[in-house]
Amino acid sequence: MDYKKAGLVAGIEIHQQLDTAEKLFCHCPTAIRENTEHSGEFSRFLRATVSEMGEIDRAAKEEMKQDRLFHYYTYDTTCLVENDEEPPAPMNDEALDVCLTIGKMFNMTPVPQVHIMRKLVIDGSNTSGFQRTALIAFNGDLPNGGKIETICLEEEAAQRVKDEVFSLDRLGIPLVEITTTPCMHTPEDVQKTAEYIGMVLRSTGKVKRGIGTIRQDVNISIAAGARVEIKGVQELDLIAEVVRREVQRQQNLLTLRDELKSRGASIAKESATDITALFKETKSTVLKKAKKIHAILLPGFAGLVGREIQPERRLGSEMSDYAKKCGVGGIFHTDELPAYGVTAEEVTLLRTHMKAQPADCVIIVSGVSEKQAACAINQVIVRAQIAMSDKPVPEETRKMLESGSTAYMRPLPGAARMYPETDVLPVEIDDARWAAVTIPELLTARADRYAKEYAIDRPYALQLAGSEKLPLFERAVKDGIKPKLAAFSILSTLTELRRDGVDTKKIRDDAFLATLQAVENGQAAKEAIPDLFRSIAEGSSVADAMNKLAPSVSREELETIVRKILTDRADFIAQKGKAALGPLMGVVMAEVRGSVDGKLVSEVLRKEIEIVLDKGV
């Protein structure tokens, strides 16, 4: 695919949760909880309101096609601010500082005075119906010549538990939003830029880690297409694929429009009708349950509604997403029927009833009421009209599906969705505050330094630099522990133990360091580290673990142990000669139970074997 020829233009928005002590506009901790721990529930309706410009935002309007009651879980770590029952506290200074640090790392210009805004979001994820957000700095540089447009500080939304149930633990956690200009032209560009920005964010040491703590939104358009914002790409590896698929989708929608035009396709609006009676005896569970079934004829659409425009996505899927805004489960179209319990006879009956020619497609929707079914048919008409229009790719906010394909969420929001948060005073960023912001070392620079200073492999060093345990590593090195031993213990040993089901969080930093120190002092063997950690994680003190697993063994004691083992295995040595060393290492190590370093064991064992062999000769 020649993306340049396709006219691909892409930008990204990165949302990263900050690891501050308190939330952005209240004094609750930024702790993520288990849903089962919730201490209370409440429920509310949200309604679209008129903006300061006297209009209702189009994205908000779309969400309001049905009355929706939202349910919220509260916790002993949430308060009345999350419940939208108390005015917000002043903006969290710690979060603003982290945001300024990030801005400075990208060489940005801070705004002289930060104004907090309310961005309308009425999908239920914000109890207030808006998200508080503020523009902090603008005009930043990326190393590949790209530009960062803005950095904003906003409050994280509530986490959807399921359907219309939300959990308030996440609501209000500070979130930085970094928006690039549309400066990227290949899928790989987009992915690399996202990786770089993620690395810069982690360099601050003040961002949350783990699944869901960073999310990428991608803005994509191609020549003759339209700007589409794809929300919530959580895995970096998928970004390039998402871009590829969106280019494919837009191109296919353009081709589809040309084909509709050349076929002279149309929308028989007047054909929209109630066909509930046709499916009275149906075996289709969906249609059987429906109170009202409506249908519409799309002349010339046959085969195109069901044609794939992106893996697993069809024009029919787009119509279905639009219809779902009225609360229906989706649509059926004749390109995919008979299926879903609808028989061939029923399809023939339907086509005859709707006077469909072979080139025509019939769409049916089922709803709980006349109003809902009519609303859904209307949405199908809207989407079909777009497919035939001069701009067959609508400007949309879409959500990523698991595979990297996308589904429609709502129209792109307009500027009408933003108005001032009057409950929070503006914050000035004067020269002194900006000058006081210090830039942390980039993780990549740090990795280079480790590679050079400590002779740690570059990929390993990079992994270490990006690790949450980095402060522990630095402390270990300062305490005189060999950097390689510290790095290995952090990156490999702890990870492997964790994978084995050991609760490594129970190993406190002090215990971790004391264990490595014992190894450095020769009190325990390197090989004993996993067992020592395991024992400590199970509740032993370092001293107890050492006594149990690595009782001190003197050189003399070691020699005695080795001699006994050699005597017991005289035949084996006679047979293998010096090659007995390898197999016998394990036997001796098991006997000394990790108290002696492997090197010393090897040295003593070799010497004793030589003595035995000498004697034998």
Binding site: F42, F45, V50, H115, T150, P420
Partner: protein, 382 residues
């Protein structure tokens, strides 16, 4: 700093010196047209006084103020048109902390005129801070055959989560119901599931910001309005539509005050009330001040000030016959205020002194229930 709105919708503050004048902004969009109304539905009047239910952002100060009229409310809350048809009476656009007895009187007259003109119910939109005072004031000033329903909102009307729509819809339902007295209709809990109907003389704002801040104290609410069904249920105690004959008694004595006693309160404070016609004390516990205040209180009553004792406990009944201090207060001429809420007692005192010139009769009126402000039995605890 000058506030600059960017194309993205964000505002930022920029030093004024860095800004260049380009042109005056285009005028704001025209006001919405009057909302369509079904005249077959009951006639209600919405008297707007301001408050959060009708608040908008003031671009001059950047804060929330009340600059909204009744028609704006109809446009913003279309469900109201399914319940009744409305006359909109813009009386004031003030935040309720700026309310005065003079405006209570104007409000009472406006409401009286609307009922006389055929309104089957009245909705008064009001800021929540002093809504309970105004509701009490109208309770005393108007004998009403129809519901007079005060409503407000705790969370600003601009936000999608505002309680204004549900409160207003429930208020309209209550105003078309069988109720026949002055009431406050507000959220019953933090959920959007029902509003409570509170008697105007027994209601109090008990939280600074929660939706369910309004509570009936010492009594159960008069009823509830379910949402979104709008079904109204009334308690047997609620006065029914048509019980009273319309009458207006709009005199008030403004020289009245409410003071809260606190330990160590200096007796000098009482001198400030010399010449006042009436004084409500929110005393401690069963209705006490310190012994040190008693001479000052005696001086006031001797000089013709009607002094009435209530309790800062909010819940429960005053009894000045249990402890010595209480008996001394009674001896000093202080009147027990029963289980009246201090604020309702203040408004009642203004009304009683405005309408009854005989001091003995006035004292008596302060101890009997005129509009449900005090009960003979303490049926409810906390």
């Amino acid at each position: 700093m000058a506030v600059v709105k960017l194309d993205s919708g964000y505002n930022i503050g920029v030093p004024q010196a860095a800004c260049t004048f380009v042109e005056h902004a285009a005028p704001s969009p025209a006001k919405p047209a009057a909302a369509a109304q079904d005249t077959k539905l009951p006639a209600l009047s919405i008297v707007s006084t301001g408050g959060t239910i009708a608040s908008r952002i003031d671009y001059r100060t950047g804060s929330v103020t009340s600059q909204f009229d009744a028609n704006d409310i109809l446009v913003a809350i279309p469900e109201l048109a399914e319940i009744a048809h409305y006359r909109a009476i813009p009386l004031a656009t003030i935040l309720s902390e700026n309310m005065t007895p003079v405006i209570w009187q104007e409000l009472a007259r406006a409401v009286h005129d609307e009922i006389k003109g055929g309104a089957k119910g009245i909705i008064v939109t009001h800021g929540t801070d002093t809504m309970a005072y105004s509701a009490a004031a109208l309770s005393f000033m108007i004998d009403t055959p129809v519901p007079i329903v005060f409503v407000g909102s705790q969370r600003s009307a601009d936000r999608p989560s505002s309680d204004n729509a549900m409160n207003a819809v429930c208020a309209a339902a209550a105003a078309t119901s069988d109720l026949g007295e002055v009431a406050v209709v507000m959220h019953d809990s933090t959920n959007d599931d029902r509003c409570a109907i509170h008697r105007g003389t027994r209601v109090r704002k008990m939280h600074t910001s929660r939706r369910d801040a309004f509570r009936s104290l010492g009594t159960e609410p008069l009823g509830y309005v379910a949402y979104p069904s709008r079904a109204v249920t009334l308690a047997p105690e609620a006065v029914r539509r048509g019980t009273a004959k319309l009458a207006l008694h709009d005199k008030l004595e403004p020289h009245c005050a409410l003071i809260q006693f606190f330990p160590g309160m200096l007796p000098d404070i009482l001198k400030a009330y010399a010449g006042y016609k009436g004084l409500i004390i929110a005393g401690t516990g069963l209705g006490h001040t310190s012994t040190a205040l008693i001479p000052g209180l005696r001086k006031l009553t001797e000089d013709g000030t009607l002094v009435v004792m209530t309790s800062q406990c909010m819940h429960g009944r005053v009894c000045d016959r249990v402890y010595d201090t209480g008996r001394d207060l009674l001896a000093a001429g202080v009147v027990e205020g029963g289980d009246m809420l201090p604020e309702a007692a203040l408004v009642k005192l203004m009304w009683v002194l405005g309408n009854e010139k005989n001091p003995e009769k006035a004292r008596g009126m302060m101890q009997e229930s005129l509009k449900g402000e005090c009960t003979r039995r303490s049926a409810h605890g906390l």
